[in-house]
């Protein structure tokens, strides 16, 4: 098992797609702040409204966007970037490439049926994917923090910042592992690059809206159960950036464990039974 993980980490270090996707995450973070900066200049009349496709609403003329940003704070921006799925898209693309290329290249033949049980082979891929999603989320968080310091400044960093930051980051890393597991199982079921990426893209972009719609229907039927409380992407978006209470932490960990268990078991059973 350790040998399999050793090989996975070697491949990770050599992986061009990891480096490209990580750079794209940093780029999207920087781009988000640039858009806000341009909007701020539009508000101040330094550049015409509509520059670069950015239109500033007249309703917020009295307050500069940068000031609004300072109110939201660095953690708030981090929440917008992680909760909107922007970074999630590139993490998803990487995980799809990471998992499905084993089939498209045929390299899975070098591990499956070579003295390792199928469970160990799948587990090694699952764990290495978890590691990669943690790393990419950390890159996103680090970029959001660094650029946030430059654009917003340190005004939002008070004595409460560190515990809020650590609890938010900790939960997001766990959520990232769980969602990465969901992508792994989709890749295992599909085993096709185009299909896997397409399905995962739909999941990242549409599923939260769909779940919210289902919840509205459930609410109209006076049902207490809310699907959005259990779908991992909705929980990521709902994660509070300040004063995270113990109930959310407990619920969040439950959702993480639930999706890790479901994705791992489903993927493992499929990998064990399906021919390569």
């Amino acid at each position: 098992m350790l040998n399999l993980l050793d090989a996975e980490f070697y491949k990770w270090k050599k992986s061009k797609s990891f480096k490209v996707c990580s750079l794209l995450i940093v780029a999207i973070v920087i781009f988000t702040y640039i858009m806000i900066y341009v909007a701020s200049n539009i508000q101040d009349g330094k550049i015409p409204n509509g520059t670069g496709g950015i239109i500033v609403s007249s309703d917020i003329e009295d307050e500069n966007i940068i000031d609004v940003l300072k109110t939201i704070g660095i953690l708030g921006m981090m929440s917008e970037i992680l909760g909107s799925g922007l970074a999630g898209i590139f993490i998803t693309v990487f995980v799809c490439i990471w998992c499905i290329s084993e089939y498209t290249n045929g390299a899975v033949k070098n591990t499956a049926g070579k003295g390792y049980t199928r469970t160990k082979v799948f587990l090694s891929k699952y764990l290495s994917t978890a590691w990669c999603t943690v790393f990419m989320n950390l890159i996103c968080i680090a970029a959001a923090f660094a650029v946030g310091i430059i654009v917003i400044g340190t005004s939002s960093i008070d004595r409460k910042f560190l515990p809020d930051f650590l609890s938010y980051v900790g939960m997001q890393l766990l959520f990232g592992i769980a969602f990465g597991g969901v992508v792994v199982v989709i890749c295992e079921l599909v085993r096709n690059m185009a299909g896997g990426i397409a399905i995962c893209m739909i999941l990242v972009t549409v599923s939260t809206t769909f779940v919210n719609g289902v919840d509205m229907i459930l609410q109209s039927m006076n049902m207490k159960f809310q699907l959005g409380d259990y779908w991992i992407l909705n929980v990521i978006a709902k994660c509070p950036t300040q004063s995270m209470d113990i109930n959310f932490v407990g619920h969040g960990i439950f959702v993480v464990v639930l999706w890790i268990a479901v994705s791992f078991l489903l993927g493992m059973v499929h990998f064990q039974r399906k021919d390569i």
Partner: protein
């Protein structure tokens, strides 16, 4: 352990694989002895690759069983197998060395320079920083072979390993396989369409048609089967066989597909044979002297014209 069982690296018993009710491998009983280079022959779609995938653990049999090195604990024994099934399983954005480094780590091989030694063995030592996606088909095949050899296996399963190789490459691989078999005592199960090449290395053969292993024989038996004979094509092989046995007292003959009979004795009395058959009402369509190679024998056995 039963000494009889220990002489075989692979034994399959009615091994079967079905897809959607169709048996693509149908109750195959194959025996690969220790030290064999077993040539596995069959047309496209005959079931060779599916069979090899089952033995390699990539596909689960629908029915039947197998033993590896006389044992039924297949997962454990598969550590002693190296395989190259269909296309080589390599990462195109890595170099040959990096690909083998992955394999070295997977198998926990600690021997220094293990990667370099294998690259030298298969003739890829000078590829340096060239990525595999820039390799020719032949180079990829060599790399696939290198991957299968990394663990110093006792049994190699090679599915058309000389595909895409030029004549000198084919010769090199042939010599390599013979060297591995003779020096390292590696048993080899190899499939190929290039029957002429296969006949130069194989010590035993198995012919598969429509998922069924129709014949298994040693190289010595093949020489016997391919020996000089008089081939006659008749309208009714049963009638002709009766005439040969009862009238001419010829016992040494066999009946093949497509109304073909091969006669291995009294070939200097061809006219007498013809006369006896025609007088007894057998329709004689063709008659000619023949001596076969593996390709000819395979074509006769599977009913294809040469």
């Amino acid at each position: 352990m039963n000494p009889e069982k220990s002489n075989y690296v692979l034994r399959t018993n009615d091994l079967t694989k079905s897809y959607g009710g169709i048996k693509v491998v149908n109750e195959v009983c194959m025996n690969v002895r220790q030290g064999d280079i077993y040539g596995f022959i069959g047309k496209n779609g005959a079931g060779k690759t599916t069979f090899m995938r089952m033995v390699s653990g990539l596909a689960t049999p629908t029915a039947g069983s197998m033993t590896l090195f006389g044992k039924t604990e297949l997962e454990l024994e598969r550590k002693r197998i190296g395989s190259l099934i269909e296309s080589p399983g390599v990462y195109p954005n890595m170099t040959a060395k990096e690909n083998l480094e992955v394999v070295r780590r997977v198998f926990g091989i600690t021997k220094k320079h293990a990667v370099e030694e294998i690259l030298l063995l298969v003739g890829l030592f000078n590829t340096s920083n060239k990525k595999v996606k820039q390799f020719s088909m032949g180079m990829k095949q060599r790399l696939g072979l290198a991957v299968s050899l990394m663990r110093n296996p006792d049994f190699l399963i090679l599915d058309e390993p000389i595909n895409g190789l030029d004549p000198s490459g084919i010769k090199e691989i042939r010599e390599l396989l013979q060297k591995l078999n003779e020096e390292r005592k590696i048993s080899i199960l190899i499939s190929s369409h290039i029957l002429g090449e296969l006949s130069k290395v194989a010590t035993r053969y198995g012919i598969i048609r429509n998922g069924v292993l129709i014949e298994e024989f040693d190289a010595a038996e093949l020489n016997e089967k391919c020996r000089r004979c008089q081939k006659i094509v008749v309208d009714n092989t049963a009638h002709a066989a009766r005439v040969l046995e009862d009238t001419l007292f010829i016992k040494n003959f066999d009946v093949l597909e497509n109304h073909v009979i091969r006669i291995f004795e009294r070939m200097d009395e061809v006219e007498a044979i013809h006369r006896a058959l025609v007088l007894d009402g057998v329709g004689l369509r063709e008659s000619y002297a023949a001596g076969q190679d593996l390709e000819g024998y395979f074509m006769d056995l599977t009913g294809d014209e040469k």
